[in-house]
């Protein structure tokens, strides 16, 4: 079976990886996926959010007893053994500048002509700006510092170890994702896409035009905008704004057109809606943007790349693009497959899994938490009484209580993951009103905002009990069933017989997921 690698470069790359993890959590993804990130801005808010998502995903998956019919957390996400190795931060020291990196001051003494050449290529600002917060929209700097990834250190060691273990053509599928218009992504995408760095690296090359690596990438064209910050623009010497995106994109595309890069397949992804995703930031923790549906599209491109049939020998170059039919985005507009015969089937699967995951997350975080905060003997719900029978006073029986010991830890990590998932999917329903996937107004009180408390609507309130039946935006299929029907036709109909689940937390999670799935079949005509 081919090995799959997803490499997120820069802030946009990190956000696409976040989307990928969320899709994998819903059960839409390959069986196995190795992931790592490249970003010199270790404190970048987008990167931090993605690292948290990956960590929580792995914890959830490891603690859940999975059964064949429950698709959630299906993908085995592989990351370097040391969590710090998940991100290649490029610079080991803080305060590194391009001048330090190329030893500019010494070179001026020892090889003045080389230093002179460097001064032609880079401005004084570019040479002297600290790079620990990224390349600030200047990919030419990033291209210099990223051209020599350390193959003996994680995260690249993971990839090179696999290369050493396999000698089959195109057996290792590497997918790069980054933006064309920023700094880190725009620098890293062509650098890692060049033939000598990955595709025809001596460890990967098998024959003249045959490699162990099948190299793909999602080149993300401008798809968002952000509010300018006049104060930050006064203090920062080097930064990028939304106005720079088109010119940066044009220059980058010209470059890709002229260069013979090592990519076998490239997906060009962009959108003209240009929704606002937050305020301007040069980097660090302030650079945390709202999720965007284009990140889902980019993840779908990666999955399409990983799921393609095996290619033997030399590969043909392929370019993929997709566009909207109208000004809005619905489930049927998402480009899920390169194969026209598979598009409807994969779109339906995606919609089903995402709807199940959303209803599961919403009910788990509201009803589920309420149950866990209620005393065992007070609960008369049939599904609970049937599958959580134990004597509270007997110490030996406490292992059956989902509130106790390791079960509590499992349910807590699920709560964190599902809460982040709901924020992610709700935030995609932005102010433009054109993204018709999940309706945030049915899930959240107020606007989902980064760094602000995320307040879910109580599904049992008399005025909001029907929200659960209208979670999909502008859908004809919504039947408008309410939370009581979720209990009667969902939770109360779940059976755990023949499932061999012994852990109380896994039982609890499985009941809620299957309950959501049963409810969705009735209400949304999915599954």
């Amino acid at each position: 079976m081919p090995k799959n690698y997803l490499i997120g470069i820069g802030g946009t790359g990190a956000r696409v990886v976040e989307a990928t993890i969320n899709l994998c959590a819903a059960g839409y993804g390959p069986d196995e996926l190795s992931i790592f990130l490249i970003d010199p801005d270790a404190g970048n808010g987008n990167l931090t959010r993605t690292k948290t998502t990956i960590t929580n995903y792995i914890k959830c998956r490891n603690s859940l007893q999975r059964t064949a019919d429950i698709p959630i957390f299906k993908t085995h996400i592989k990351i370097p053994p040391d969590e710090k190795g998940l991100v290649w931060e490029i610079f080991s020291d803080r305060g590194t500048t391009l001048s330090n990196f190329i030893n500019y001051e010494n070179t001026k003494q020892t090889q003045p002509e080389l230093a002179e050449f460097a001064s032609i290529l880079f401005t004084r600002n570019e040479l002297d700006t600290e790079l620990n917060e990224g390349f600030r929209g200047h990919p030419s700097i990033g291209a210099v510092v990223m051209s020599n990834p350390p193959q003996d250190n994680y995260p690249f060691k993971m990839l090179f170890d696999d290369l050493a273990g396999s000698k089959k053509a195109n057996d290792i599928r590497v997918f790069l994702v980054g933006s064309v218009f920023g700094g880190t992504g725009a620098a890293g995408f062509p650098t890692f896409g060049s033939k000598q760095i990955l595709k025809f690296h001596p460890f990967a090359k098998l024959l003249e035009n045959v490699s162990q690596i099948l190299l793909g990438g999602a080149l993300i064209l401008p798809y968002f905008n952000f509010d300018p910050d006049p104060e930050a623009e006064k203090t920062e010497k080097m930064f990028v704004t939304g106005n720079d995106f088109p010119i940066a994109t044009k220059a980058a595309l010209q470059y890709y057109n002229e260069k013979d890069l090592g990519f076998d397949q490239i997906y060009f992804i962009g959108d003209s809606l240009a929704q606002k995703v937050g305020k301007f930031s040069t980097g660090a923790k302030d650079q945390e943007n709202m999720p965007h549906y284009i990140e889902v599209v980019s993840s779908l491109a990666a999955f399409d790349f990983f799921e393609q049939p095996e290619i033997k020998g030399e590969t043909d170059k392929m370019l993929f693009t997709a566009c909207r039919d109208n000004k809005t985005i619905s489930w049927n507009d998402l480009p899920t497959s390169r194969d026209p015969l598979l598009i409807r089937q994969t779109q339906t699967a995606l919609k089903s899994l995402m709807t199940n995951m959303t209803v599961f997350a919403y009910t788990f975080l509201t009803l589920g938490k309420k149950i866990l905060n209620t005393q065992h003997k007070e609960i008369k719900d049939a599904w609970y009484a049937e599958y959580f029978r134990f004597n509270e006073k007997d110490e030996k029986e406490k292992v059956k209580d989902p509130r106790q010991m390791q079960h509590k830890d499992t349910l807590d990590v699920f709560s964190r993951f599902l809460s982040d998932y709901l924020f992610w999917i709700a935030a995609m329903d932005d102010a433009s009103g054109k993204v018709n996937l999940v309706d945030k107004k049915m899930l959240v009180n107020g606007e989902p905002m980064i760094g602000k408390p995320f307040n879910l609507i109580n599904p049992e309130d008399e005025t909001t009990r029907r929200n659960i039946g209208f979670l999909l935006k502008n859908e004809q299929e919504n039947k408008g069933k309410d939370i009581n029907e979720f209990k009667t036709a969902g939770l109360n109909q779940v059976t755990l017989k023949n499932r061999n689940l012994t852990e109380a937390a896994s039982k609890f999670i499985t009941i809620f997921y299957e309950g959501a799935s049963r409810f969705n079949k009735l209400n949304y005509n999915v599954n």
């Binding site: 008369k380 719900d381 049939a382 009484a385 009581n484 209990k487 009667t488």
Partner: protein
């Protein structure tokens, strides 16, 4: 057994069979064993059967209402209220048994029946009312309210 209409039919059948056993078979033997001051055993038997019939009717009716109430979707969202409804129902059944016995005692006050016999009659009335209600709802409540009856 907790699916509709099976629970409705089984409960009605069980109530009727119980009445036949307690009112027809046991009632005949029981009325013959009584020592009455003025009435004949046949007169007493007729009123005994009528009162047991009323008790059975109350028990069956309460069970059917509980099944209907328990199968409403809205009940799933108000299990606390459902608990109160079940408790109120069983108390109502106890009151019903006591009230029927009280009326029967008043009617037959001059007959000089032994306390033991009244105790037997109360057991029969209880069997048709609160015990019948508990028994049927214990085994045949709709899934939403399946775990509400005592001792489930």
């Amino acid at each position: 057994m907790n699916k509709s209409p099976l629970n409705y039919l089984l409960t009605t059948a069980l109530g009727v069979i119980l009445w036949v056993i307690t009112a027809i078979f046991f009632g005949g033997v029981f009325s013959e064993s009584l020592t009455l001051a003025s009435s004949t055993p046949e007169d007493f038997l007729a009123s005994y059967r009528l009162f047991l019939g009323l008790a059975a009717f109350a028990g069956i009716l309460n069970c059917l209402y509980w099944y209907y109430y328990g199968s409403l979707d809205t009940t799933a969202g108000r299990l606390d209220k459902a608990k109160r409804v079940w408790l109120s129902s069983i108390i109502l059944q106890i009151i019903c048994a006591v009230a029927l016995l009280f009326i029967l005692v008043i009617i037959n006050l001059s007959e000089g029946m032994a306390t033991k016999d009244w105790a037997i009659i109360f057991c029969m009335l209880s069997l048709h009312t609160w015990f019948f209600f508990w028994f049927c709802t214990f085994f045949m409540s709709p899934r939403t309210v399946k775990y509400i009856p005592f001792f489930k």
